[in-house]
Structure formats: structure tokens, C-alpha cells
Symmetry: C2
Subunit: 216 residues, 2 copies
DNA sequence: ATAAAAATAGTACAATTGTACTAGGCCACC
DNA sequence: GGTGGCCTAGTACAATTGTACTATTTTTAT
């Protein structure tokens, strides 16, 4: 029976180190390494490729989405399991399109994580209720003629920059001053983000920022 | 050398189970039990008291603050360590007043957690940078004549109810309809919350809701 | 080289939120 | 039997956000 190498990236040290322990206790896991953020994970992987990379969606330095994008481009043979706190389906669909192999909520049982690891290696994808719900929602929305909840949850660098400032409780005017931009420009970036994400007020933006790990 | 009993409450199963592993690996920890939320923790403790209870601040069913309040009232001999993701100082000061024994960010090293466990038992309190920063900020704010960042971060039931709806992206009008309240009443609850928490717009409210575990 | 995407900036108006007050009823606690 | 906290509701106005467009320039990718 083959044994596997697993890397994990998560910014919460306590969780990450505890997870390393847990992963080492899995029968078919041979080696575990950990990284504090996406950047560090990519550096690790540059030198030695694991069978599976477990990536937290919420990370400050290089968030999960960006990490996965790079990972898939540079090392398509590495299977990716996303860990997320919130079942933010806006994001999940987008990442499925990117080619991520599994999605798990942080409140799954350790057993399920173990199953998921073996599944992504051997069957290339791990199906669970979370994924099923997102897929179903996407299908029913298309069918009923509604436009799906979002176009693409990928924000540009400028948009993220502005989103961060929104989350720091700055007004449009203040953001404009800080970035030396017209208020109108900032306002436009806001509406573009709201469009992309599929929300229609600031609350939606802030929630997205939290759920996507763009803030805190 | 005496060995200790530790209970932990956290709604993220994966984290919690991994933490149980970790705690068991500490030399002077004899027994570990875990609970999914504050309510469950209190039930556990009703039958048998641990030396230390580790409580996640962010929990949906019964949040960390409420859990600690009850815990201190009913079992003052149990030492409490709060785990939090964000260094939300608004909350920490309030909980220090309540009598919580330690605060740790979720990105501390396992070693520090171990030290903290022994410290709260033997010295009744564990000091670290997080706590020091909050205390200093509180002092300097009082000195400079500013009113402290918040009065009390304790929201009433009604306020929490409204905050949850705000976080669901409802407008004041919609909330009023849903709860059969005047728009003005809802508006007043909003400003009262903003006052208590020490913010001046919706963004601040939503962030607080996340950081206090009132939503997701 | 050219098309697409991103960033910039604008106008004009509607809707919502935020500020600053007053005020009555209810309930619990001392 | 008063005091204070909580919930309710109000008025009136200021500030900010949200909607709906058009349009030019810059950057990026094929």
C-alpha cells in the first residue's frame, strides 16, 4: 500500500500544528510539512512535490484562491484540498472551475479528511455534501433563468486594495484621498466588486472579504 | 507533579479534534474532553470540573462571552483560556473584567498554549503580548481624555437579533418588517450598538459580528 | 498588433444610512 | 417606590452609499 506526502498551509499556527499531528496519525500518510501561508507553501513545493496540498481558503498573505491558481499552473500533479470555515459557495464554484480537487468545511470529522485525502489521489476528486449543494444551486439557478449568484469571484489587485480599506471603515471619499483616486473611481470599483461577488451593499462586501480571507 | 484535566469548546470539529490530540501530548495534561459549543461545555462541566476550560470566542450556538459568564458564575474554580482569531480588543477588556484567565490568538505556538495552561492554574493568570497591548491601549486612552473605544461590548438579545439580520444584508426597512418594528426602532438599536461597540458605520458592525462569533 | 481586461473619471439621481435629539412604557433590583 | 436598563417610536436633517450609465487611457495577453 502506497504512502503519501501531505503539505498543509494555514496561518493559524495552533490549528496548523495540531493538524500536522492529526495528519501524521493517518495510516497512509508518510510525511507532513506545513507552511504559514500560500507563498511559503509554493516555496516548499518548488523543491519537493507532495501528493496532496491542504490549503486554508482564509489566509492573509497569499489567499487560498491565488495560491491554488499558481499551484495548478506550476504543479498540476499535486492534488488540492481546500479547507474553509464558511460554505461560501460564491467562491467554491469558481475554484472548482480552476480544478481544485476537494472542499471541506473546517467542521468536518477527521475521518472525512482522511477519506478525502485518499480520494483525491486515487479518484482525482472527493465528492461531499458541500460540493453537491453548490453544484445543485448552480444548476437550479441557471435553469430558472436567474443569472448565477456571481460572474467571477476573482477580484483584481486594485479591487482587493479598496476592499481592504472599506473593511477598515473608510468612506469612499477617504479611500479616494488615500489612494489619490477620484471618488468616482473608487465608487466604480465598489460596484464592480458588488457585481462580481453578487451582493448589493457594503455588508455583502465585508462578508465576502472575511470569507475569502482578504481581511483578518 | 500534579496532572491536569482540560476541556475544550470549539465548533470547528477538525480544529477541535486536532487540538484534543495536541493537548494529550502535553506532559502535564492527564485528561481531555471536548464540546462543540458553549452549551455542551457547560453540560460537561456540570458533572465533572476540569482544571482549565479552553473556549473559542467565535461560536454560533452559545458564544464565548456568554459561555464564560455562566462558567464563572457557576464554577469559579475552573480557569478559562479564551482562544480568538482576531485580536478584537473591544472584547478582551470586557472579558478580563469578567475574570477570564488568559487570551490567546489562534496563531500562537503550541508551546505557548502549554505554558498558558500551567500558568492559569498556578498563577491564576497568563500574561502575554496580546493582553499587554490591550491594557496599554486602555490606559493611554483614558489618560488622553478620549473616551475608551467602547462602553460595554455586551449586546442585548434584541440587538443581537437585529445585528444578525443586518449581516444577512437586510435593510433597516426590511428588518422592521420582519420583526414587526418601526423603522425608527431598528435604527435606534443600530446606533445603540454602534455606540456600545465603538464604531460608526455598518462595516464596523459586521466586523464585530464576525469577531464576536455572532455570525458564521 | 490588436483585442480584452483593468483602471481611471465623469454626471445625475435615488435610496439608505448616520446623527441628534425627545419620550413613554415595562420590568427588575435595591 | 424610585432608579436604571431595555424596548419601543418619533422628527428632521446630513452624509454616504447604490444605481445607471458613458468614456478615455493603460496594461496585459495572444
Amino acid at each position: 500500500m502506497k504512502k503519501y506526502k501531505v503539505y498543509i498551509a494555514d496561518d493559524h499556527t495552533l490549528f496548523r500544528k495540531a493538524m500536522v499531528n492529526l495528519l501524521r496519525s493517518f495510516h497512509r500518510v508518510l510525511e507532513v510539512k506545513d507552511a504559514e501561508n500560500g507563498k511559503e507553501l509554493l516555496t516548499l513545493i518548488k523543491y519537493e512535490q507532495p501528493d496532496v496540498a491542504i490549503v486554508d481558503l482564509q489566509m492573509p498573505v497569499m489567499d487560498g484562491a491565488e495560491t491554488c491558481e499558481q499551484l495548478i499552473k506550476k504543479h498540476p500533479e499535486v492534488k488540492i484540498i481546500i479547507l474553509t470555515m464558511h460554505d461560501s459557495n460564491k467562491y467554491i464554484l469558481h475554484m472548482m472551475e480552476m480544478g481544485v480537487h476537494a472542499f471541506l468545511l473546517k467542521n468536518t470529522e477527521p475521518d472525512e479528511l482522511e477519506k478525502a485525502i485518499y480520494a483525491v489521489i486515487e479518484k482525482d476528486f472527493y465528492h461531499n455534501d458541500l460540493v453537491a449543494a453548490v453544484l445543485r444551486k448552480n444548476v437550479t439557478e441557471r435553469k430558472s433563468g436567474q443569472r448565477p449568484q456571481f460572474r467571477s469571484a476573482e477580484l483584481t489587485e486594485r479591487e482587493k486594495e479598496i476592499l481592504v480599506l472599506i473593511c477598515r471603515e473608510l468612506t469612499i471619499r477617504e479611500i479616494g484621498q488615500k489612494l489619490s483616486l477620484s471618488e468616482n473611481t473608487v465608487r466604480n470599483h465598489r460596484v464592480n466588486m458588488m457585481d462580481k461577488i453578487g451582493v448589493n451593499n457594503t455588508v455583502g462586501l465585508v462578508k465576502f472579504a472575511y470569507e475569502a480571507g482578504i481581511v483578518s
